[in-house]
């Protein structure tokens, strides 16, 4: 690999991610304003994340007295690394992808686990009560989404006969998978909301623990962790658009614009619905996951399999 190209790719991805994170913060605020029927101007919404960024950059980085420094520092580093590694496989358009891995989807699912580790490190490393409880919640959180997420996403590679995200998009040129796999699509969106700690599934970082895993994180580290949580939300939503809404496919407009529009629509929907629902406890979330989402994914896989068999005349 050429080192120069690698550096350009790295900084290009970073720049795109920063813009995407800002967009995510704006969409988050817009969804909240819509959910609570609060009239807010778009300019104010767009400026709010920037003002918050300015405050966080200037704020002192307070490290709790008994903190486990190494773990505390590993958290933002790991979170940003996971987001960077994930961003490399999302196809923005035909040929517009850093790495078209032949295990693309599997790679994405794999990389979601270290993100939880990053958040747990932030909570545990602070070595204070609320952070540690938040870390336990984050681990319990993982049990709620891991299996439904994988099973919901598996419908797309079943139909495309490939794990490569590019091939999955190309397989949807006639009909989006989300149209004839609505169950899988819905379950994917719910588990995506759980993964990215969107409300109403934001218990590990919730206010009842003073911020949970982020309770004792401040300043630039808080900025990096919150930012990577938002960036992960963008990436998982973009992946939803790739898997179920045909990715970059669309008439008239260029491919990347279509992907951004679809991703933004998914994010706005998730944000709007999420802020209208009451927050779920860990046990309620596990109940939802194991009693509703998991059987739902089995149904989804069965229906998808039958449809594919009928189509191919097997």
């Amino acid at each position: 690999m050429d080192p120069g190209a690698a550096l350009v790719g790295l900084f290009g991805t970073l720049a795109v991610l920063v813009v995407a994170t800002w967009l995510a913060a704006v969409l988050d605020g817009l969804g909240r304003a819509l959910a609570v029927h609060q009239p807010v101007g778009l300019a104010a919404l767009a400026a709010a994340p920037l003002a918050r960024l300015g405050r966080l950059v200037r704020r002192a980085d307070v490290i709790p007295a008994n903190a486990d420094g190494g773990l505390l520092w590993s958290a933002p580093v790991m979170a940003v690394a996971v987001v960077l590694l994930l961003a490399g496989v999302v196809p923005l358009g035909p040929g517009l992808v850093i790495a078209d891995l032949n295990i693309g989807l599997f790679y994405v699912i794999v990389l979601l686990a270290p993100f939880v580790v990053a958040l747990m490190n932030a909570g545990w490393g602070a070595n204070a009560k609320y952070g540690v409880l938040g870390a336990f919640r984050a681990a319990g959180h993982l049990l709620a989404y891991e299996v439904p997420f994988g099973f919901a996403a598996i419908g797309a590679p079943m139909a495309a006969e490939s794990l490569s995200l590019v091939k999955i998009v190309e397989g949807q040129d006639r009909l989006w998978y989300g149209v004839w796999q609505p169950v899988g699509f819905a379950i994917y969106l719910v588990s995506a909301a759980i993964i990215t700690y969107r409300p109403p599934f934001d218990l590990p970082a919730a206010d009842d623990l003073g911020g949970g895993v982020l309770a004792d994180v401040s300043g630039p580290r808080y900025l990096l962790l919150r930012g990577s949580m938002l960036a992960l939300w963008v990436l998982v939503s973009a992946l939803g658009a790739v898997l179920f809404l045909g990715g970059w496919l669309g008439p008239l407009l260029p491919g990347p614009v279509w992907l951004v529009l679809k991703t933004a629509a998914l994010m706005l929907a998730m944000s709007w619905v999420g802020y209208r629902l009451p927050r779920l406890r860990v046990d309620q979330m596990l109940g939802l996951s194991w009693k509703v989402l998991l059987p739902g994914t089995f149904l989804h896989i069965a229906i998808t399999g039958v449809v594919i068999l009928l189509q191919t005349g097997g």
Partner: protein, 436 residues
């Protein structure tokens, strides 16, 4: 060139991670080190063009280690970072640096001896009885000959017979909502947590709260100072007298006692000042962290769970405990904690477990863990692994799909489900046991 750099870096991380896992004293750190090592190995696999193996390596090991962390909470009685904090406090460790194997370099500052030293069980009534059959009487802990329930001190079962009992003795409160009070144990109507006994009510006279800055401000209840808005603290805590003759002892061998600092003759650890000579000399000095009814005058093992007995902190004044949990000692400081009812270590642990949504039920969890481990090894041995150098072609999508859906799925997903079934089973059984 980039490949070589990456190779060296990943190899260093892999080896360093495994070394770190062996050397660190914290279970959590060990798990994180192990994960780092596995992820570095996955990176090496990628350099060898074995993407699929690398991905499986990361998914299974990182996901698996996260479940292991949950097990750690359920099985190891690890109360979290607080435990490390407490260890640090007791042993005077200089800090949990990355490869910390270090023992104390210097004795920690002597703790102020606490006044009002009175055992919680109180009185001369050391009779043990069955909660169901009051006619059963025994001189010590054991099980009831009629119903095999664990015996408990009679004084603890009959609070109205205990001296100086007041009407608030049986008040239960929610750890999160102090305003929720009930005369019987149960669940909080606001958050569904188990109510815990309000021990603050059991020490009627000794609790006067005062402001650290304005000693003239006195209040019978915790709250804010009207002059400066600081949290009020226990007056007894502020007026703790300096210790008398300090005795030094070994953190590992309590029988080693010395009047001067130095090394333990048995393990060469630095001697530390003994925290409270009176409490150790008292009749019920040691107890099990999990079974508060187990009491012994000598250190040793718990007859129920074989854990090491620890000096009974509940026999020592609770003011010290409250100060430890919510005082200003650094990382534990959070505004608003002042309103929480003060709890015994056992009740506090129970609350932590409650909030972490895990089970404290050892035997069930161990049994299920053993069964899942056996089933897991069987599943893993049954699957035939493509480990030969002429393995499957990872570039062929259909081969990858076939592998994923057949062998790997059987092995790895089977393993994951067994572990998950173990966790869920332990939690469910734990809940049932809890209600019974």
């Amino acid at each position: 060139m980039v490949e070589w750099l990456a190779f060296v870096l990943l190899a260093v991380i892999a080896v360093g991670g495994s070394l770190g896992m062996l050397l660190t004293m914290s279970m959590y750190r060990a798990a994180i080190f192990l994960m780092a090592s596995f992820v570095a190995l996955a990176g090496l696999f990628i350099l060898l063009q074995a993407d699929l193996l690398a991905a499986i390596q990361v998914m299974m090991n990182v996901g698996g280690m996260l479940v292991m962390l949950l097990f750690m909470v359920a099985l190891m009685m690890d109360p979290g970072g607080e435990m490390m904090w407490d260890m640090k406090r007791k042993m005077g460790l200089p800090g949990f640096s990355a490869l910390s194997m270090s023992m104390p370099r210097s004795p920690p500052p002597a703790e102020a001896a606490r006044p009002e030293d009175r055992p919680r069980t109180g009185g001369s009534n050391t009779d043990w009885t069955c909660p169901m059959h009051p006619e059963v009487s025994a001189p010590g802990p054991g099980s009831c000959p009629k119903c095999s329930m664990d015996l408990a001190p009679r004084a603890a079962l009959q609070p109205e017979a205990a001296p100086a009992a007041d009407t608030d003795t049986d008040t239960y409160a929610c750890p999160m909502h102090p305003e929720v009070q009930s005369s019987a144990p149960g669940q909080c109507p606001k958050c569904g947590m188990n109510l815990v006994p309000r021990e603050a009510a059991q020490e009627p006279s000794a609790t006067t709260y005062t402001c650290p800055m304005h000693p003239d401000v006195q209040s019978p209840t915790p709250g804010k100072c009207p002059k400066c808005g600081m949290d009020l603290v226990l007056q007894a805590e502020l007026q703790a007298p300096a210790p008398a003759a300090t005795t030094y002892t070994c953190p590992m061998h309590p029988e080693v006692q010395s009047s001067t600092p130095g090394k333990c003759p048995k393990c060469s650890m630095d001697l530390v000042p003994q925290e409270d000579p009176q409490a150790v000399a008292g009749p019920t000095a040691y107890t099990c962290p999990m079974h508060p009814e187990v009491r012994s005058s000598t250190p040793g093992k718990c007859p129920k769970c074989s854990m090491d007995l620890v000096p009974d902190e509940s026999a020592a004044p609770m003011a010290g405990h409250a100060g430890m949990q919510h005082g200003g000692e650094g990382g534990m400081h959070h505004g608003g904690d002042g309103a929480m009812p003060r709890m015994s270590p056992a009740a506090h642990y129970k609350m932590m477990v409650d909030m972490a949504m895990s089970t404290a039920l050892l035997p069930w969890a161990i049994a299920i863990g053993v069964v899942s481990a056996l089933l897991l090894s069987w599943v893993l041995l049954r699957a035939t692994w493509p480990l030969s150098p002429t393995g499957p072609n990872a570039d062929d999508v259909s081969v990858v799909g076939e592998l994923l859906l057949s062998r790997y799925m059987i092995g790895f997903e089977g393993a994951a489900y067994l572990i998950l079934a173990g966790v869920i089973g332990a939690v469910l059984l734990g809940k049932r046991e809890h209600r019974r």
